[in-house]
Structure formats: structure tokens, C-alpha cells
Subunit: 400 residues, 2 copies
């Protein structure tokens, strides 16, 4: 049995190595960028008017002039107009190119216009007022978004503005989620008294969907032949296999044996944690497939997905992971010498602290309790008493 | 000009009223549940074995018996077996029905088996050990997930286990995002010196996608006729119109006028905030359309989307919104008498506090700066100096 930290280290040594593919800008949300986005022109690309009003030559204003005859109009989207007479002004719209011969913009709110002459009513005018200078945000060819970033609306806006209608992104792994266990029936079915419906595969698939991955789902019956056959088949087809059930010490748990028979090297079996102790992890060098075989208990398999598989995916994608921590809000006692993943409900208090309130339910079989919680708080082993006010690592599974 | 709070109140008075529709379980992630999920049988549905090992009658153990001949095997998924001889035991697998006649399970780790007889090696056995009692998590017909909850992997797991392969969820509004401004060209195009590419519509659409909404995108040229025509058309087709550009005080800003001509009632125009001051908000009772007309500056339109439109969507869906707050980490001075939405980068420190570091860029035109930030920190008006250590409301736009 290994520790949580050892398990994490072992898992992070067997990453999926993404390739590159091109996706449409509109479909890039959540994907990992594999090329830098650079400014194809300066940002902004011209001296941009940033307020509706009039454009003047500052020198005229500095010389004491306050009345400026309106000589024309500059709209956003129109080619640059010219202020030929430096004692005149041009009406300008936000987004317009500052007229040649002008360098300063006075807002409509700060002028009055009568008979085609604008009168400036303020005294704190300076050169370049309300002009967003060419290249003042970013220079030509400057990297705005480096490669390796996860695309969010902010990056998508930048990509559009630099003309990228297609983006080079990291490929996502092909994943299959496999349920095992003869007690399982389909969601649509009416289970017999000794049966339960499949739920883990739906839950795990939904968690993967949060990382943009549409996993296939399969089911294996609890017979040695069937387990062998499906594992051999999936190793050829998928980069990642996630199994749930069939990894504890019971008579009918063929998975670990079948994995080894199929050339999947075991890296560990069992972690000193609750829930999720019987977690089995391996990989096949031949097929370049990573295998997560999770316990069949719904809370266990979900916790392992949140704590190990999602971080593994992020590490595979080479995105920086933001570790979270939260304050335990009630004393908590846990006896076994295991790392305990406590189900908690979090709230941000008025001091900006993430507060974690225990939501203990009926243990690893109590799927329903997850509905009350939003995160797991990782309480380290080697201790039994955890005090209110202490801070522990947090793994959230419910983002706003 | 109204305040941020007044604007929020006005917006939250004109909600989209969702209808109900049925979606497949696999497609329900992020949707708002409109029916309660109830236990169609007790949770768990039988006295469930929670560890691999042997099932015994506790009375025999209590009478001092430690050697139990193995009388059979109970696998997960098999009908209940019977322990006829109370001094014998049944090998049981996790997930199996506890055999009739047995009530207590001893783990393999705590026994040794020789010649078909199991010897119990521990002394702290109690009745029902390692048996997850029928109905101990939830009773028959108990509500597990109430209506009104956003579906996440946890709820999807519950739905599967209670047999819901289709779910009743709230419909999403039909949304169109409209860009305006003659200076705009397509992403694919090479802009002339005075032109820029469309970016706001991509950015806003990507933000809506985070709430499961696939918005249509349109463009209106800056002519009164075109603005009129497209607005009239969209009012008939959409529940929500989000426009960007065309709402400041300039000569070519036809939007507010065209809205009124089309029977859209104005609720406000201009909010005492930066960025995003020229925000225009209205609604058409006739068409039941809500209209957000945002400023054209990319940072302004994005801020308004994050601060007003996403919360409006959540309120329309009647989901509870979790307000966040964060600690400002550096003194900050802001002179104008406006609520200031400061771009910040957040980190959770070792005390579990959300710390907000200012990432100031080139103002509301500086789209590229958003890439460095992850949230807006709302600094109230009526003050100019904000001290490190103070806590303010936080609006995040980059969830992990």
C-alpha cells in the first residue's frame, strides 16, 4: 500500500503526450493552445479615439484657443480624415482613427456646440487626452497569449482580434470508461432486489466532459474471458482506460490479473486513503495506454477521478494547476491511519477565506451525500484530530 | 446615470422565464433540474456488503465462536444466498447482498482460511460490521436532489442510480450576439489601417457557452435602416439580444433610438462604473425579449457580460448564486466617482484566503490585458483609496 503522495507521483510519471490539431476559434473554449498568439499589428493599430467628442490640435489649445469650428466628422470604421486647419476641429466617434493634424480629444460632455463652433469648457486638457496611442497596449509581433494556456473567453477575444479563425491546440486523449460488476443493470432497467443501476460511468464521463473529453462508455461482465477480451480490445483503441469496480480482493475481481496478462504494467494497487483504497494503476508501453482501475463504490470512484484523474489530465496537457486550500470549520476526528478525503461544502466568508464545512454521509457507498458537498478536503494521515481553523488542500468538483 | 446596484436591480426585474424540456442524462451536465430526483428504492436497496470477506451470524461470534466453515459464496450481482447453518459462513464480495441468516462481515485481511474453515483473527467485531444497511443513506421516495439544482457529475450519478435516463430541465434562452460598428471586419480578413477585427461577439459567445448557451452571432452595419431591420427581426426570433457597440453618445450610435422605435422599453442607459459606463438595457414586453446593449470596447463588453449577464442568466434559471469575495493585495487609487472593476489575478494563500493582485493594463480598450487577469474586483464608488487587506466582491471569468 502506498501513500497518496506516492500514488500521485507514480501517476504523474505516466502522462498522455498530446499531439496538435487545428480547431475553429468558436470551438476552442477549454482547449490548450499550442501556438503563441502574437500581435499581427500594434494594439491598438492606430491612435484610437477613446471617447465621442471633438479632436483638436493640442498646440492650439495650449495657445489659449477655446473655440474650434467643426470641419468634419470621423466615424469609427472610416479611413483617417485630415484636420487641415489646425485651429478647427473634427467630430470624432469612439473607435475612430484620430484625424491627421489632431492629437487630443475632448468629450462631448466637456464642450458646447453652437453654430458649428465647439467651445471647450474644461481646463485640465493635456496632449493625447482620450487618445489610445498606437501600440500602447502591445507592439507588433509581441506575444499576447503564450502557448500552453487554456482557452477561455478572454483568449478567444484576443485570438479573434489577431485574425486567428483556426487555432493549433493539444489533442485530447481518447478515453473509455468501463463499468464492471454483475450487479449492474442499465439506467432504464428495473433492477432486481440484488441489483443496482450503472451510475459510475455516467458520473466519471460527466467529470471528463468538464475537460472537453467525450469518453466512450462500455461494460464488462464479471467473467475472466470477457474481461480479457474487452481489455485487449480497448488497449488498442484508447489512450486512457478508466475502469470502475473489480479491483478489491474479492473472488470475482479479475481486473488486475487480466491487466497483467495483457501486458499492462502495474504501478500500484491500493493507496492508504479513504475512500478509494483499492485503486489500481498501470500502463502499457506497447499500446501507450494509461489504465486507472477504480473501486466500484460510487464515492470512491468519483473521489479518485477528482483527486487523481483530472489533475493527471491537466498535467498531460501541461497546464499549470492552481492548487486550492480551505479552512476546516469544525473539529473533525478520523481514526484509521489513512489520508481521509472529507466531503465538504465550501463558502467564501467576509474575510475572503474559503471555509469548508464537513458534510459527512454514509461513507463510500453514499452517492447521495455528494449532492450536499462541493469538494473533498484532504486530511493527512498520521493524525486523528483535525482542528477547526486548520487549512488543508481542497479538491472541488462543483465549479460555478 | 444610475449606480451598479440600481442597474443590477433593474436587470434582475426582467428575467427570462424558462420552460421545461426533457434531455438525455448524458447531455444534462450544467442544465438546471426541474423535477426532484427521488429514491425509487431505498439507498442502498439491500443490506449491502461493503468489504470483501466472510459473512457470519454475529450471535455465533458473540458466543465465542472463531472458526467458521465456508458454506458458499455470495457475489455482487447474484441473488441473495442463504446461510442455513448459523455456525458456518459465506464468502462475500463487496456489493453483494448480505446472505440471509448472516448480519456481519469480516474482511479477508482479518481472517485466515485453512481447509475450508475461516478463522477470525480480530476481537473488535460488532453486529453489522461492514454491512451498509438497507435504506441507511436514503429511504424510499426520499428527495435526493431537489428541483432547481444545476446538474454536475454528482447529480448525474444520482440520476443514473434512480433510473432517470431522461431528465426534465429548464429550457435555455435563445440568444443572439450582435456586433455593430463599420470599423469591424471578419476574423479572416486583413483589416485596413482604420479597421479592426470582430472580437467581442466571439468573447461574449464563449462566455455564454460556459452556461450551456450556443448563441447565434450577427453583425449590423452602422446605418439607421440596417439597425432597424435587424433589431425588428431579432426581437421576433430571440429571448435575449446582446449587442456590442453603438451605445455611446456619438453621431453614428443609432441603437438606443432604433430600440425605442421598435417598442423596446429602455430601463437604463449609463451606469456609474468603469469600464462599461454606456451600457444600455431594455426589454420588449410584446416579444418577451431582453436587450443588453453593451459598449463596444472589448474589456467593457466583457466586464458587463461577466458582471451582469451571467448573473442574470443564473437568476433566470433560479439557481442560487454563490457570491465570492477576495482580499485586495495592494493599495489601489482610483480617482473618478465611479464603481471601478479592477482586473485582478487571484491566488489562494496558505490561510485559505482568496488574494487578488491588480493587473492593470491599458484601460477598456486593452483586450490583451485580460489574459493576465482571472477576475474583476468591484471597488465601490464614493471612495478613491482602497487599502491592501480590504475585501471586495469578486467576479471570476476563468474557472478551473
Amino acid at each position: 500500500m502506498i501513500t497518496v503522495q506516492e500514488a500521485e507521483n507514480a501517476i504523474l510519471k505516466r502522462l498522455y503526450i498530446p499531439c496538435e490539431e487545428s480547431v475553429k476559434l468558436e470551438q476552442s473554449a477549454g482547449r490548450i493552445l499550442r501556438e503563441p498568439l502574437t500581435a499581427d499589428r500594434p494594439f491598438p493599430p492606430f491612435d484610437r479615439v477613446s471617447m465621442d467628442g471633438i479632436a483638436i490640435s493640442f498646440d492650439a489649445y495650449a495657445n489659449g484657443q477655446r473655440l474650434f469650428p467643426v470641419k468634419g466628422v470621423a466615424a469609427a470604421g472610416a479611413p483617417q480624415v485630415v484636420l487641415h486647419d489646425p485651429s478647427g476641429c473634427i467630430e470624432v466617434m469612439t473607435g475612430a482613427v484620430t484625424p491627421a493634424g489632431a492629437d487630443t480629444v475632448i468629450r462631448y460632455e466637456d464642450i458646447s456646440v453652437e453654430d458649428g463652433v465647439a467651445k471647450i469648457n474644461i481646463e485640465d486638457v493635456h496632449r493625447h487626452l482620450n487618445v489610445h496611442g498606437e501600440g500602447s497596449d502591445r507592439s507588433l509581433d509581441e506575444v499576447i497569449v503564450p502557448a500552453g494556456i487554456r482557452m477561455t473567453p478572454a483568449e478567444i477575444g484576443v485570438a479573434a482580434s489577431v485574425g486567428k479563425s483556426f487555432l493549433k491546440v493539444a489533442t485530447l486523449p481518447r478515453v473509455v470508461v468501463i463499468s464492471t460488476g454483475d450487479e449492474l443493470v442499465e439506467v432504464e432497467a428495473q433492477p432486481l432486489p440484488h441489483q443496482i443501476r450503472k451510475s459510475n460511468e455516467y458520473q466519471i464521463s460527466a467529470a471528463l466532459l468538464g475537460r472537453g473529453i467525450r469518453a466512450d462508455r462500455r461494460y464488462i461482465e464479471d467473467t475472466k474471458e470477457e474481461v480479457d477480451r474487452v481489455i485487449a480490445e480497448c488497449l488498442k483503441q484508447y489512450d486512457v482506460m478508466i475502469l470502475s469496480g473489480g479491483v478489491s480482493a474479492g473472488k470475482f475481481d479479475y481486473i488486475p490479473k487480466a491487466m497483467q496478462d495483457n501486458g499492462v504494467e502495474k504501478h500500484f494497487h491500493k493507496i492508504s486513503q479513504r475512500p478509494g483504497k483499492p485503486f489500481w494503476f498501470g500502463s502499457s508501453d506497447e499500446h501507450r495506454t494509461t489504465v486507472f482501475a477504480l473501486p466500484g463504490n460510487p464515492v470512491s470512484s468519483f473521489m479518485c477521478t477528482v483527486r487523481y484523474i483530472i489533475p493527471w489530465l491537466d498535467a498531460s496537457m501541461q497546464v499549470e494547476r492552481r492548487n486550492q486550500q480551505a479552512v476546516l470549520m469544525e473539529d473533525y476526528h478520523f481514526h484509521p491511519d489513512l489520508t481521509y478525503f472529507l466531503q465538504v461544502r465550501t463558502e467564501v466568508d467576509s474575510a475572503g477565506r474559503i471555509c469548508a464545512y464537513p458534510e459527512t454521509g454514509g461513507g463510500s457507498g453514499d452517492l447521495a451525500n455528494l449532492v450536499r458537498a462541493d469538494s473533498f478536503l484532504e486530511l493527512p494521515r498520521g493524525r486523528n484530530d483535525f482542528k477547526a481553523g486548520e487549512v488543508f488542500p481542497l479538491y472541488s468538483f462543483r465549479q460555478q
